[in-house]
Symmetry: C2
Subunit: 344 residues, 2 copies
C-alpha cells in the first residue's frame, strides 16, 4: 500500500492548532504510510512543526488566515468561509490531493461544507454521523448522531446500509448485525417511522443481518454491531452516555478519595484504574465519520487533546485503507440493480 | 401525620409476589406510618406474610387469582383484566381506600388502566413517566420516559409543570430549574416541536426557572433540576444511561480481577466500592412515577429485588406525604386563572 494523504483543518477545535499538529505527530508514529496536507495559519503551525521534524518531513502546509469559528451558523460559514482552513481542506479531498479530511471544528459547518463540496454517494439521500461505542462485547457503531433531526423510514434504512459498510470496513465484520433502536422490542412498539423502517429493513436484501428492534441498554450490552436511530435521539443518547461515563468516573474518584485508608488503596489500585481507563477513555473513541458523502470526512471532538486527535486521524486512515466508500458503493449498486429487476 | 395506605399489585414483576412482600417488609421498617392493601393470590402471599409478622399486622390482603402478564397488550389487559391484581389495586386509589399504588408489572397496561380509572388532573392532556437520575450535583428528574412516543410543544410544557411539582414535592426544591433537552444549546438547534416548546416555556409564568435548551451530557452533570423530553427519546436515553452504568461496572470488575495483585487490591478497596455502589446502584433510583394522573401511581422496574421494590414504595410514600398532586393542581389552577385574565 502506498502513501495516504490526510487533509487536516489545523484551525478547528478548542485548542487548535496545537492539538492538531501534536495529534498528527502521534498518529504519524502509528501510521508510517501517512502524509499530511495541513491547512491553516503558517505563523502558528510553523513553530509547532519545528518541534516534530519527522512530521514536518511528511507534511505540506497550505497557508490561510481564515477559519470557521465554533459558533458560526453553517450557512454563514459556507458563504464567508470560502478560504477557510476547513473549506480548503475539504476541497483537497474533492480535488484528489488528499484521501480524507479530519477537523475538530464546528460540526454543522463541516457537515454543510462537506455535503456541498463532496456531494452524496449515489443512492444516499442524506449523510449520517457515525461513531464507535464501547460495549460489553467490544465495539459497535451507532448512527445518526446528529446530522438529521428528522428522519423518514427510508433514511433509517440507508443509515443501516452505511453503518454496516462502516463496521465491515473498520472492524472487519463480514455480515454485520443491525438493530433499530426503539422503546421496546415488540413489533407494536414505537412511532410510525420506526415501524415503517422495520418493514423496509425486513424486505431489503442488503448483506447484513437485521435483528429488529433493540432498546437503549442494548448499546452498552453490544447486542448488535450497528445501532440505527434518528439524529435527534442519537445525539441525545450519545451525550447521555458520555455524561454517564463522566459521572461514574467522578463517583469512583470520590469513593477512593473519601478516607485516608482508601487513598492508599487508590494508589495500590493504580494499575487496575489504568486498565479501566484504557477501555472507557472517550479519547479512544474520538473521531466520528460523516457517512454517505463522496469522500471521507472525520470529525474530532472540539475539546479533545493530542491523543484524542491522533485517534480521529486513525479512524480516517483505517477507512481509506479498507476502502469504506467502495464497500458502500458496491452494496448500493447491487441494491439499485436488484430493485430494478423487481420492478421489471 | 396519620397513616398512609399503599396499594400493592403483588403479582406484577419478574419475581412477584416475593419481591413485593419482602420489599414492603423493608419499607415498613423505614416508614412506620405505612399500612398496606395487598392485591393478589392469597395462597402465595399468605406464607410470605407469615415470615414478616410486623408487616402482616399492618396489611390487608385482597384475594384475586387474576393478574396482568408482562407481555399482555394494554388494550387486552384493560378488557380481560377487570379482576386483575393491577386493576383492583388502582381501583382502591380511585375509591379512596389507598393513597397510592405501586406495581412492578407491565408498564403499558399499568399506564392504560391508571389513565382510564383515575383520569387526568385538570389542565393536563397526557400523563408522563418521571424518575430521578443521579447527577454530579445530586439528583435531577427526567420526563417523559416512555409514556408518549410523540409529543407536541404543549405536552412538553405540561411535562415541565409536572416535573417541577415533582422535584418540589420529592426533593423540596422551591423554584426548580427546568431545561428542554435538545441537540444543542443555541436557539436555532433542533426540530420544530422543541423550538415551539421553548417559546411556550419562555412565555409561561409557571413558578419554575426555565433555563432553555440543555444537552444529553447535562443529565449526568445535573445542570438543571428537571429535564424535559419526549417519551421516545427519554426512554432511549434512560436505558442508554442504565446500559452505560452496567458496562462501566463490568469494566471496573474486570480491571480489578485481571491480575492476582489487583485481586488483593480489590479486596482492600471493598469499602470504596461500597461507597460507590451506594451512589450508582440503580435500585436506589427505582420507582418511576406516572405524573398528571388524578392519583399517585408508581412503577417499579420489573426485574428489581426486595431492596429496589422497597425504594419504589418509598417514592410513593414521599409523594403522598408532600402532597404532590395538590402542588400540581395549585400551579395549574393559577395558570388557568392567569390565562383567563390575559384573554379578558
Amino acid at each position: 500500500m502506498g502513501n495516504i494523504t490526510i487533509a487536516l483543518d489545523a484551525m478547528g477545535g478548542d485548542r487548535a492548532p496545537d492539538i492538531v499538529i501534536n495529534g498528527a505527530a502521534l498518529a504519524g508514529k502509528r501510521y508510517p504510510e501517512a502524509t499530511f496536507l495541513i491547512f491553516g495559519d503558517q505563523t502558528k503551525i510553523g513553530p509547532l512543526l519545528d518541534e516534530h521534524p519527522k512530521l514536518q518531513a511528511v507534511s505540506n502546509v497550505v497557508h490561510t488566515e481564515e477559519f470557521v469559528s465554533g459558533d458560526d451558523k453553517p450557512s454563514i460559514a459556507i458563504r464567508q468561509g470560502r478560504k477557510s482552513s476547513m473549506q480548503l481542506a475539504i476541497n483537497s479531498v474533492k480535488d484528489g490531493e488528499a484521501q480524507c479530511v479530519v477537523s475538530a471544528g464546528n460540526t454543522g459547518a463541516l457537515m454543510a461544507m462537506s455535503k456541498l463540496t463532496l456531494r452524496m454517494l449515489p443512492g444516499i439521500d442524506r449523510p449520517a454521523i457515525c461513531a464507535l461505542c464501547p460495549t460489553q462485547k467490544g465495539q459497535s457503531a451507532m448512527l445518526d448522531l446528529g446530522a438529521n433531526i428528522e428522519c423518514n423510514a427510508n433514511n433509517l434504512l440507508q443509515f443501516g446500509v452505511l453503518g454496516a459498510a462502516y463496521v465491515k470496513s473498520l472492524l472487519g465484520i463480514k455480515i454485520p448485525t443491525v438493530g433499530l433502536l426503539n422503546v421496546g422490542e415488540e413489533e407494536i412498539k414505537g412511532g410510525d417511522v420506526v415501524k415503517q423502517a422495520a418493514v423496509l429493513f425486513r424486505d431489503s436484501d442488503f448483506p447484513f443481518d437485521f435483528r429488529g428492534f433493540v432498546e437503549g441498554d442494548d448499546v452498552g450490552a453490544g447486542t448488535v454491531d450497528v445501532f440505527v436511530i434518528d439524529g435527534f435521539t442519537g445525539n441525545l443518547m450519545l451525550k447521555a452516555i458520555e455524561g454517564t461515563v463522566q459521572l461514574y468516573t467522578e463517583y469512583l474518584r470520590e469513593a477512593f478519595k473519601s478516607s485516608g485508608g482508601s487513598k492508599l488503596v487508590g494508589l495500590l489500585a493504580r494499575n487496575a484504574f489504568k486498565r479501566l481507563k484504557a477501555r472507557i477513555d472517550p479519547r479512544i473513541y474520538n473521531g466520528a465519520t460523516f457517512l454517505g458523502l463522496n469522500g471521507i470526512v472525520v470529525k474530532s471532538h472540539g475539546s479533545t487533546d493530542d491523543f484524542g486527535f491522533s485517534n480521529a486521524i486513525g479512524v480516517s486512515v483505517d477507512m481509506v485503507k479498507n476502502g469504506l466508500n467502495d464497500i458502500i458503493t458496491e452494496e448500493l449498486d447491487g441494491y439499485v440493480e436488484r430493485k430494478g429487476q423487481k420492478t421489471n
